[in-house]
Symmetry: C2
Subunit: 385 residues, 2 copies
C-alpha cells in the first residue's frame, strides 16, 4: 500500500455537505476540489510551462493514447517521464487511453484480452489491454494513473452494460496486478455503468474490494443530459469511500463542477476551457463572452473586469477581438490562458466557500451571474430567472 | 525640424568601416545596427508583449496596410496608438502600406494621385495616396513612419523605373508636406530605382533636398539575386548622408544583415525569423535546424546549445520536434521566440564586434559556422568551403 498518497479532508461545508481537502502525493500536495487543465499531447494547448503553473493548482492531465502514438513511450522514457518531457515540475495524472480508443478510433473489437482498433489518423491496426495501458502509464510516469476500462455508450442496453461493467472490473484487477510502481504512482479505479445505478454500485463495490487509492466516475459527460449525469453523481456520493479522492472524468463546465462539488467530487478535468478559447469564447464573471462579436469592436474594457489574470490586466476586448478577426495565434493563446485562470479562480472560490460553510450561497450566486439561472441543490436542475 | 530625433554614430570599425550607434527618439533610444521584429497586424506572431521585449532591441515594426484594413485607424486611435493597442511600451516603426499594395493586392491602377486597388481578401475597391498613407500613420502613432512610395518590380525597364522614381520623389514631398506630427514621428524617405544606380542616386539626391531624418532603401529583397542587392548596397553606402539612420527594408537573413552592416546599414526588418519558425525551421549558432526531421526524434540537446533563450534553457529538440509532429501551437511559439532571440543576439554580437574593430573577423566566422561558407567583404559573394 502507498501511504505517501493520501486524501486529507480538511472541512465539510455545514450548509451543503460539500468537502474540501488536500491530496498528498509523494511529489507534493494539491488542494481539492481541483480542476486539472488537459495537456493532451504533453502540451496544455498554446501555453508554456511557466504559464501552466500560473493557471493551474499544480496538477495537470496528459493523455496516454496520444502520447503512446506520438512520440511513443521510448522517447518519453528517455526524458524520465512526461513531466520532464514537457518540463512540468508539478503533479500529473494520465488517463488509461480507454476513452480515446472508444471515442476516436474505428473498427474496435473488444475481447476479454483487450481492444483491437485502428489508429484514428493512420488507420494502423493497434491493440491495447489493461496490462499494456498500465505498462505505458508506468513509463509515462505520472503521479496518478487510471485503470483501463471499457467506456461503453451511456445508453447501451442493460444487458450489454452489465457485461461491460463485469469486464471493466476484471480489467481493473488485471491492471492493478501488473502495476509496477504502486509506491510512486497512485492507480485509481474507474466506476462505469452508464445510467444504471445498480450497475454503478456493483462496479464500485467490486473496485473497493481491490482498495484503490482513488475512484473515478467514468462514462459521464459523453452526450447524456445534465439531469442524467447529476442523478448518477447524487446516487454515488454516499456510496464512494469517504476518505478517498473522487474524480469526475471529462467534466469542466462551471455548472457541472458546481454540482459535482456539491456531490462530493474532488477532481475534475476537461478540454473545454482551452477548446472554447480557440474559438474565441471566454468565461467571465458575468458569463460567456464571444470575443469575435461586433459589439466588442471598440470595447476598451478588459475581457473580465473582475479578473486578475495578466490578459485582463493588459489587453482590451477590442484588441482581443482584432487578434481573432486577423487570425493571430496570440488571440487563441491569451483566451486559453484567461479561461484556465478563470477556472483556477473558481476552484479557489469554491474551496473558500466550503471552508466558510457558505458553499450553497456561493454556487447560487455564481450560477445567477454566469448563467443567469438559479441553482437547485437537490437535483442540479436550473430554470431561467 | 525634429531635434529630439537623432542618430549618434558611436564607433566606426577600423577593420571594415561598419558603424554602430544610438538612435535617439522622443520615446527613447535604441542601439544600431538593429533588427526590428515584425508585428504585421499589431502582433509579433504568437508572442505576448513581455516576450517581444525579451527578443527585440525595443523597436518593432507594424504594417500600415494591414492595420488600416483591420481593425481600422478609428479603433487604434481610441487606444491612443498601435503601441497602446498592443500594449507595447517600446518604440515602433510603421511602413507606408505601399509595399503591401504592390505585393498583395490585385488590379492596381497607379495615377499621380495615388493607387487604386482591390482588397487582397474581400476584393473591395480601395485607394491609397501619399497624403492618406501619412494621415493613417499619424493616427497609428509610431515613432518612425515611412514615405509612401511606388515599389516597382526590380526588373522594370529603365524608362518605367525612371518615371516611377520621379513619382516616388513627388509623393515623398507631398507626404512630408501633409505630415502632422513631425516633432513626434520621424518621417523617413524611401530610395527606389531597382538595380539602376543612377536612378537610385538621383532619387536619394532629391530626397536629401527634403532633409528627411532618415533614409530607407526600398525595392530590395523582392526576388533579385543577393549579388544584385549587394551591388546596390555597396553603391549607396558612400552616397547616403553619414549621420542619418539608414534602413534596409524587408531584409533579415543573417547573411544579408551581415553584408548590410558592412555597407553602413543601421536598421533591418523581416518576417523571416517568425515565418520559418512556423514551418519548424530554427536558426542556431551552427546553422539551420529543421526540427521536424527524424534525426531530432530522440535528441536530448537544446535547440541551440549555445543559446541563452528560455526555449533553449528549457526544452529538448526531441520535445520541440514532438510539438511540431503533434501539430501543437506551442511549437510555433517556442521556435518563433528562439529565432527572434537568435537575431537579437546576432545584432548584439555585430555591435560588439564593430566596437572592438573586428567586424570583418566576426562576419567571416559567423558565415563559416552558420552557412559553411566564406564571407567576401568586397562583393558579399560566397563560396562553399
Amino acid at each position: 500500500m502507498n501511504t505517501a498518497f493520501r486524501h486529507e479532508i480538511v472541512h465539510i461545508c455545514k450548509q451543503t455537505g460539500a468537502r474540501c481537502g488536500l491530496l498528498h502525493t509523494p511529489s507534493g500536495t494539491v488542494p481539492t476540489p481541483i480542476f486539472m487543465p488537459v495537456g493532451t499531447q504533453a502540451s496544455v494547448k498554446t501555453l508554456a510551462h511557466d504559464e501552466i503553473k500560473e493557471v493551474s493548482d499544480n496538477l495537470i492531465l496528459a493523455n496516454t493514447y496520444h502520447l503512446w502514438l506520438q512520440p511513443g513511450t521510448e522517447i518519453v522514457k528517455q526524458h524520465g517521464s512526461v513531466k520532464e518531457f514537457m518540463n512540468w515540475d508539478g503533479l500529473m495524472l494520465t488517463d488509461s487511453g480507454g476513452f480515446q480508443v472508444f471515442s476516436l478510433s474505428s473498427l474496435r473489437k473488444i475481447t476479454e484480452a483487450g481492444v483491437e482498433f485502428r489508429h484514428h489518423l493512420s488507420g494502423e491496426l493497434l491493440h491495447l489491454s489493461p496490462e499494456e495501458s498500465i505498462a505505458i502509464q508506468n513509463d509515462l510516469g505520472a503521479d496518478i494513473i487510471m485503470s483501463f476500462d471499457e467506456c461503453a455508450p451511456f445508453f447501451s442496453d442493460y444487458e450489454y452494460m452489465s457485461a461491460s461493467v463485469e469486464r471493466t472490473i476484471r480489467w481493473a484487477k488485471r491492471g492493478q496486478e501488473t502495476h509496477k510502481k504502486p509506491e510512486k504512482q497512485a492507480l485509481f479505479g474507474v466506476v462505469q455503468g452508464g445510467p444504471h445505478l445498480d450497475l454503478r454500485r456493483h462496479c464500485l463495490e467490486e473496485l473497493m474490494k481491490m482498495d484503490f487509492p482513488g475512484y473515478a466516475l467514468g462514462g459521464l459527460s459523453v452526450g447524456e443530459s445534465k439531469t442524467e449525469m447529476y442523478k448518477v453523481l447524487q446516487a454515488m456520493n454516499p456510496e464512494l469511500p469517504f476518505d478517498k479522492p473522487r474524480y469526475l472524468m471529462g467534466v469542466g463546465s462551471p455548472d457541472d463542477i458546481l454540482y459535482g462539488v456539491l456531490n462530493g467530487i474532488d477532481m475534475f478535468d476537461c478540454v473545454l476551457p482551452t477548446r472554447i478559447a480557440r474559438h474565441g469564447s471566454a468565461m467571465t464573471t458575468s458569463g460567456k463572452v464571444v470575443i469575435k462579436n461586433k459589439e466588442y469592436e471598440a470595447d476598451m474594457s478588459p475581457l473580465d473586469p473582475e479578473c486578475e489574470c495578466h490578459v485582463c490586466q493588459t489587453y482590451t476586448r477590442s484588441y482581443l477581438r482584432h487578434l481573432f478577426k486577423a487570425g493571430e495565434i496570440l488571440g487563441l493563446r491569451l483566451i486559453s490562458y484567461h479561461n484556465l485562470f478563470f477556472l483556477k479562480r473558481l476552484m479557489h472560490d469554491i474551496r473558500q466557500a466550503i471552508m466558510d460553510d457558505r458553499y450553497g450561497d456561493f454556487a447560487a450566486s455564481f450560477m445567477e451571474r454566469f448563467y443567469k439561472r438559479t441553482f437547485h441543490q437537490k437535483d442540479g436542475s436550473t430554470r431561467s430567472v
